[in-house]
């Protein structure tokens, strides 16, 4: 007899670990019947979770952090048991803006964040940029990137909140000049001829925690058995997704109307890291465009949470040290490690790292001693040491 667990998601490629856990029986293996709910918006998903209508959710990494800082519309706190995906966003611009960027010498290599950012700033335009939610890696990466290049963000920008599936439409309506959005919705803008892709999110930060497996604060501690089943099922789904031989199958499953309702070919672009950047068909290879498993991708580093907390605090004028401390508590590396101890997982011995310090694949201390972490640099070479007080 399996236990039913209600989990919610937003139709995005990076909802894959939950969808695959359900479809390929990784949940069943753990005696878990996953009942998946597609939510219309991030705020609705957060509220369903906070109010106990669902037990777990595919969630923007900064949302649980924001709840810990007491900001946003819902004072119920959330926490992250796993990272569901690393990277996976794209920054896109309108065809008009793309033309201007070319005039300013940008080559659309879909790689060089410095060149792309400088070209954007050189247009001297007050850019209207669409992001899916006020508390999202999309917003954080955008602001970090442009600030680092000397454009005060978000002050010098007009930020519009647009739900992912409506991003292409907002572009077509001329409401925004650029966007940062999760796949497949950037590629859909390309398909519709209303946008060109400028950069993948990982060009700004090589290893940015994108979505997390979120639960209500206290839920996981109160039910370790159920939590363990969930964390393991989702981890196994991530491992399956991490194998390149499975991308075609994954794209087919995600493309179903019940899930994303977008053609498998478009979904495959994100999964295989071959993005078509314009309607003229230019393709760019981006290895690890989205990562579900390699390099301990599922591990919720407390230092990742601290980075997010620090960025939000700096922007909203909150106490930065306090925010970083609260944020750390939200990423439950302890529970992640505990519940995966019965699997073949190899997890890092530490719970924090110096973010931005790895320029190449690096061996680190782990339970089995064979774990490699992947590059986690910021485009500007800055380093974030979570233990350093400001």
């Amino acid at each position: 007899m399996s236990i039913t667990l209600n989990a919610g998601y937003i139709p995005l490629v990076d909802a894959a670990p939950l969808i695959i856990a359900h479809e390929l029986g990784f949940g069943e293996e753990e005696g878990l019947a996953l009942n998946l709910h597609k939510a219309p918006s991030w705020s609705t998903l957060r509220d369903l979770l906070a109010l106990g209508q669902i037990e777990a959710a595919h969630m923007l990494a900064p949302v649980p952090v924001a709840t810990a800082l007491g900001i946003g519309g819902m004072p119920v706190q959330l926490e992250a048991l796993s990272v569901l995906s690393v990277n996976g966003n794209v920054i896109g611009v309108s065809p008009q803006l793309a033309l201007r960027l070319r005039e300013h010498g940008y080559r659309f290599d879909f790689k060089d964040a410095t060149a792309a950012g400088r070209a954007l700033i050189a247009t001297k335009q007050r850019l209207r940029i669409g992001v899916p939610f006020p508390f999202s890696m999309h917003a954080e990466l955008l602001f970090y990137w442009l600030n680092s290049l000397g454009l005060p963000a978000p002050q010098a920008l007009v930020i519009r909140t647009v739900p992912p599936p409506l991003m292409a439409q907002a572009m077509a309506n001329g409401e925004i000049d650029a966007f940062c959005v999760g796949e497949p919705w950037g590629s859909i803008a390309v398909e519709n001829g209303v946008g060109e892709l400028l950069l993948p999110g990982n060009a700004i930060w090589n290893f940015a925690p994108e979505k997390v497996l979120a639960t209500r604060k206290g839920w996981a501690d109160a039910d370790p058995d159920l939590t363990g089943r969930l964390v393991r099922a989702v981890w196994r789904a991530g491992r399956w997704l991490g194998q390149s031989s499975n991308t075609t199958t994954a794209a087919e499953i995600l493309s179903r109307t019940d899930y994303l309702g977008v053609s498998a070919e478009v979904i495959d672009r994100a999964l295989s890291g071959r993005l078509v950047i314009s309607a003229r068909g230019g393709e760019r290879k981006t290895p690890r465009f989205v990562e579900f498993f390699e390099g301990a991708a599922t591990f919720p580093w407390k230092s990742q949470a601290a980075w997010i907390g620090g960025q939000i605090a700096a922007r909203l004028g909150l106490d930065r040290d306090d925010a970083m401390r609260k944020a750390r508590e939200v990423f439950r590396s302890d529970l992640h490690r505990q519940h995966l101890s019965r699997t073949t997982s190899d997890l890092p011995g530490a719970s924090e790292k110096i973010e931005g310090s790895l320029s190449q694949k690096t061996a680190v201390a782990s339970e089995s001693g064979k774990l490699f972490l992947l590059p986690d640099q910021f485009f500007d070479g800055r380093i974030f040491d979570p233990t350093e007080s400001t």
């Binding site: 509220d47 519309g73 739900p163």
Partner: protein
């Protein structure tokens, strides 16, 4: 006597919006405005400075309202109404009906309750109508497919309508499928062959 509560309803469909306005007006004396245009929603809401914002939970533009949580202004810290967990039944009813409400921080529960009750009743009605409409549509679609499948069999095998249906049902039972799925497969295949 405290001042009239101001309420904003975010709703594209004019008829629906008017029905909500009517229900609310029956439950009390409020200042009610409707916003139908979804672009620039947060700005519009902020400029009207309401006490309460009502929006359909299934409306994806709801996320836009979350900008209010970080914007500066009178509605600086609007809270989702579900926050009042002292009233669990009300919260549950609201979720089931699919209504979400943003409420200015510190509003008294007794002022909020009649408004929500009225909204919940109305949203429930919409929800039921939508479900019924979808169910009807699907039933019609299925009947159409079934009729076409029967027609194909009648022509190809010279059967009567009843015999054609019996054949479809038998095929479905043999394959452990639904009759409608077998009918659909037949219609698709026939389309390919013709």
């Amino acid at each position: 006597m405290s001042k009239k509560l101001s309420i904003i309803i975010v709703e594209k469909d004019r008829d629906r919006a008017m029905q909500i306005v009517d229900s609310l007006s029956l439950s009390g004396d409020y200042e009610i405005s409707v916003i139908a245009e979804e672009s620039g929603l947060a700005r519009r809401v902020a400029s009207l400075n309401p006490d309460i914002v009502l929006i359909d939970m299934t409306n994806p533009s709801r996320d836009t309202l979350e900008e209010l949580a970080i914007a500066s202004g009178p509605m600086e810290r609007p809270v989702a109404m579900f926050v009042d967990q002292s009233d669990d039944t009300l919260t549950k009813a609201a979720i089931e009906a699919g209504v979400s409400a943003y409420v200015v921080d510190g509003m008294r529960a007794d002022r909020l309750k009649p408004i929500l009750d009225a909204a919940i009743t109305r949203f429930h009605m919409f929800h039921r109508m939508r479900t019924e409409l979808e169910a009807t549509k699907q039933a019609l679609e299925e009947r159409k497919t079934l009729d076409r499948a029967k027609g194909i069999l009648m022509k190809a095998r010279g059967l009567s309508e009843d015999e054609a249906y019996a054949l479809l049902r038998k095929a479905a039972m043999d394959q452990g499928k639904k009759v409608i799925d077998v009918a659909q497969a037949l219609v698709t295949t026939a389309g390919l062959l013709s």
